[in-house]
């Protein structure tokens, strides 16, 4: 080796420089995320007469909650709730971030809940509420005297943790009615106007399946869309269903009510089910092709049916009835993570957005049905009709259905894993992979492996 001294020194310096640059390059990563927020905060005008420091709030949602037309570029929203809040509170700037799917939002939520980095106001869905509940201490308590009695009882119960803290401000709910095709009912010799169908299906699930059998015998076609869809309605009425509310232990496999519902459904499904799975191409096509005559219908399903069917079938209708009482499918809350920078302002925003007046506007925008009974009086909701469903008075119809929703069954941390195991079992029977008994046994061993 024959380095001259100069070369050596140079080499050492260069080495050190590269080393230093690498370290710098690595560490600078973490700091780059901040400026966004501060930029918009500084460009904001000086505090107006309403007072308050200028703050920037971030609001994260998914699907179409109906707040601002960025959610659906093709739809023309009547109201812009985001702008309205900023006009009312000139010191507040809202950055609205909306994800297309709730699954993406869920992953994001659980990734950042611990270390931080969530939006100031985060929307969560009923499907992952039981999991969120395990971390209720990381979210703000939204209880306030002003909001006493604002929401449906079941909506509040679902978002209240063991210590009585309300961690979510309810946005929408999904009270279920029955959607059906009038022409198919006629062909089967069944009554077909909404009122007649409501009377016909008024009763328990046994009655529903009896009507279904009558329909199937007359036409040879399936009566309902999918077993997992119907199961959703049945399990929502069983309390307790899968877990013991006090101990949190899984009781699903020993619960006679669950097994009875499973047996009842698989027996009926043999002739009355399409064998389709929801959200598949076949299920979509079957909506227009007359493969099935009924499905469980929360308010948001109306848009799904209209979008799928288009002009192919104009006789979908909706009956103000639900077997064995009522049921809820879907719905969301706004939460405020405790490690946010502007917790107090964020709470104000969450509570404002979920006030009856605002939720009525969101309903007018995107059809998300309010969880606030006071909103049902609002003309925007009360007078709402749906042209595609033969001008069904959906505003008053779903208000009735919302009042019929039973008190929410207990859902613990394993609720959705157990539910997936059982709907998988139903799908296996539907597809002919297994008979009902073998399929139930598989589900039992899957459920026993949980926990």
């Amino acid at each position: 080796m024959s380095f001259t001294r100069r070369k050596k020194t140079l080499a050492l310096t260069a080495g050190a420089a590269i080393f230093a640059m690498t370290i710098a390059g690595c560490s600078s990563d973490g700091d780059d995320t901040e400026p966004e927020a501060t930029d918009s905060a500084t460009t904001e005008e000086t505090p107006a007469e309403t007072g308050g420091e200028p703050v920037t709030l971030t609001l994260a949602t998914f699907n179409t909650p109906g707040y601002n037309s960025v959610e659906q570029p093709n739809a023309d929203y009547e109201y812009d709730l985001i702008q309205e809040y900023m006009d009312l509170n000139p010191n507040v700037t809202i950055t609205y971030d909306r994800k297309a799917e709730s699954g993406d939002a869920r992953t994001n939520f659980f990734t950042k809940l611990g270390p931080g980095g969530l939006a100031d106001v985060e929307m969560i869905e009923v499907d992952w509420m039981p999991e969120v509940m395990q971390y209720s201490d990381l979210l703000e308590d939204l209880t306030s005297a002003d909001t006493e009695g604002r929401w449906l009882e079941s909506k509040v119960a679902d978002a209240t943790d063991a210590d009585g803290r309300l961690i979510g401000a309810g946005t929408d709910v999904g009270p279920e009615a029955i959607c059906y095709r009038a022409s198919l009912f006629e062909e089967a010799g069944l009554p077909s106007t909404p009122d007649e169908v409501a009377t016909l299906l008024d009763g328990d699930w046994a009655n529903f399946f009896e009507v279904g059998q009558e329909y199937t015998d007359a036409t040879g076609n399936a009566f309902f869309d999918s077993t997992s869809g119907i199961w959703q309605g049945m399990i929502g009425q069983i309390n307790p269903a899968y877990e013991d509310a006090d101990t949190g232990e899984i009781i699903a496999t020993d619960n006679a009510d669950v097994k009875a519902a499973y047996d009842q459904l698989t027996a009926a499904a043999e002739t009355q089910s399409t064998g389709f799975q929801q959200w598949t191409e076949d299920w979509n096509a079957g909506m227009s092709n007359g493969d099935y005559a009924t499905m469980l219908c929360p308010p948001w399903m109306l848009g799904v049916i209209e979008g799928n069917v288009g002009d192919a079938a104009d006789d979908w209708n909706i009956a103000n009835v639900f077997p064995n009482g009522g049921g809820n499918w879907g719905g969301s809350w706004l939460t405020v993570p405790s490690n946010g920078a502007n917790v107090d302002e964020a709470k104000k925003l969450a509570l404002w957005l979920t006030a009856p007046e605002q939720q009525a506007k969101a309903f007018a925008n995107a059809g998300t049905y309010p969880s606030q009974p006071a909103a049902y009086e609002d003309p925007a909701v009360a007078d709402a009709t749906n042209a595609f469903f033969n001008d069904a008075p959906i505003g008053t119809l779903f208000a009735d259905r919302a009042q019929a929703v039973p008190s929410a069954p207990f859902k613990g941390e394993f609720y959705f894993q157990v539910n997936t195991a059982i709907t998988d079992a139903l799908t296996r029977v539907d597809g002919g992979t297994d008979d009902p008994t073998a399929s139930w046994d598989k589900a039992v061993s899957e459920i026993e492996a949980l926990g």
Binding site: R5, C26, P115, Q277, E281, D424, A425, K442
Partner: protein, 317 residues
């Protein structure tokens, strides 16, 4: 080295000498340090972290865990779903990689001819690769729907009963493999084509003069000459095949691998355990098992590669 010649007297060495000494010793390490620091942060740390978590009941949100020992591994190895996932992964891998390499070689051989509008055809085979996987999944879900799918519709014309793509095991694997093949055949064909272009044309001329036909020239000249590239293509498609995730996940709307786990792969099983059940300890254990499986397969490939290449050099003499 010079320092060993005389008895060292420390006082004789100036600070500069010492610096120079350490420079010779330390500089090389400093030069290679950037790679190892980046690797340590982005590669090694996650691997070790995953290993630690895999022995714990880990709560990723609170960043706390309880030591469990080998429980997670024991659970996974006793779980029916793990073995089904392993079976599915290998089945989909075989159904995709084997036809993929064969068809890609064939297409590359076709493109190697003097075609009109050569660049057009060559770029054409790459189009599926540029398409977004989500778009591919959308198209294929229309094709492979059980009742109203196009493929079952066509099969009906030739009197074949509709195939239950989302119920039966092998048909679901075939459907997923066709998605994978659609995406990767063109890409592999281009790599193989590049190898074919590098074959000296004299070899073909000599073979032609010796009376070898087109087929004979393909098997006796083209194939042996592209062997190293073919091995590369095989290895990359093996790794890709064992980590298959996008296509089976988007094969139905729930993305959990079917009601009877007909098309659950190992990466999906890991994802469902981690993000579905928020059980990151167990998911980490699955990640390690997958790592070991790929490692074993990699070693097998390495051994095969060496065998094939040595037979290549001895064969050409």
């Amino acid at each position: 080295m010079a320092t060993t010649e005389v008895e060292p007297r420390r006082s004789q060495y100036t600070w500069r000498d010492k610096l120079g000494h350490w420079d010779v010793k330390a500089s090389p390490y400093l030069y290679i340090a950037p790679f190892f620091i980046v690797f340590g942060l982005t590669g090694l740390f996650p691997i070790i972290y995953t290993a630690v978590i895999s022995f714990m009941d880990w709560d990723t949100i609170r960043n706390t865990g309880e030591y469990l020992g080998w429980d997670n591994f024991q659970f996974v190895l006793n779980d029916r779903q793990f073995w089904i996932a392993l079976r599915n992964t290998f089945s989909i891998f075989l159904l995709s990689s084997v036809p993929q390499v064969i068809i890609a070689t064939f297409i590359a051989a076709m493109l190697d001819h003097n075609l009109r509008a050569r660049t057009f055809w060559r770029m054409g085979v790459l189009v599926p690769y540029v398409m977004m996987p989500v778009a591919v999944a959308l198209i294929f879900s229309q094709l492979f729907a059980d009742t109203y799918g196009l493929i079952n519709h066509w099969l009906g014309f030739i009197g074949i009963n509709p195939i239950q793509w989302h119920v039966d095991v092998i048909p679901s694997h075939l459907a997923i493999a066709s998605m994978v093949n659609f995406r990767w055949i063109g890409y592999n064909a281009l790599i193989l084509l590049a190898a074919m272009q590098a074959i000296p044309r004299e070899l073909y001329e000599a073979a032609a003069i010796d009376g070898a036909g087109k087929t004979r020239r393909f098997f006796s000249v083209t194939l042996p000459q592209i062997r190293p590239t073919a091995i590369f293509v095989i290895i990359t498609s093996t790794i890709g095949g064992l980590q298959i995730f996008d296509e089976p996940r988007m094969f139905d709307t729930t993305g959990t691998g079917g009601a009877d786990k007909q098309w659950l792969t190992i990466t999906m099983y890991m994802y469902n355990t981690g993000w579905g059940q928020l059980n990151f300890g167990r998911a980490a254990a699955i990640a390690w098992l997958l790592f070991l499986i790929i490692l074993a397969f990699g070693l097998l490939n390495f051994w095969l590669t060496r065998r094939l290449i040595s037979s290549d050099t001895s064969g050409s003499k």
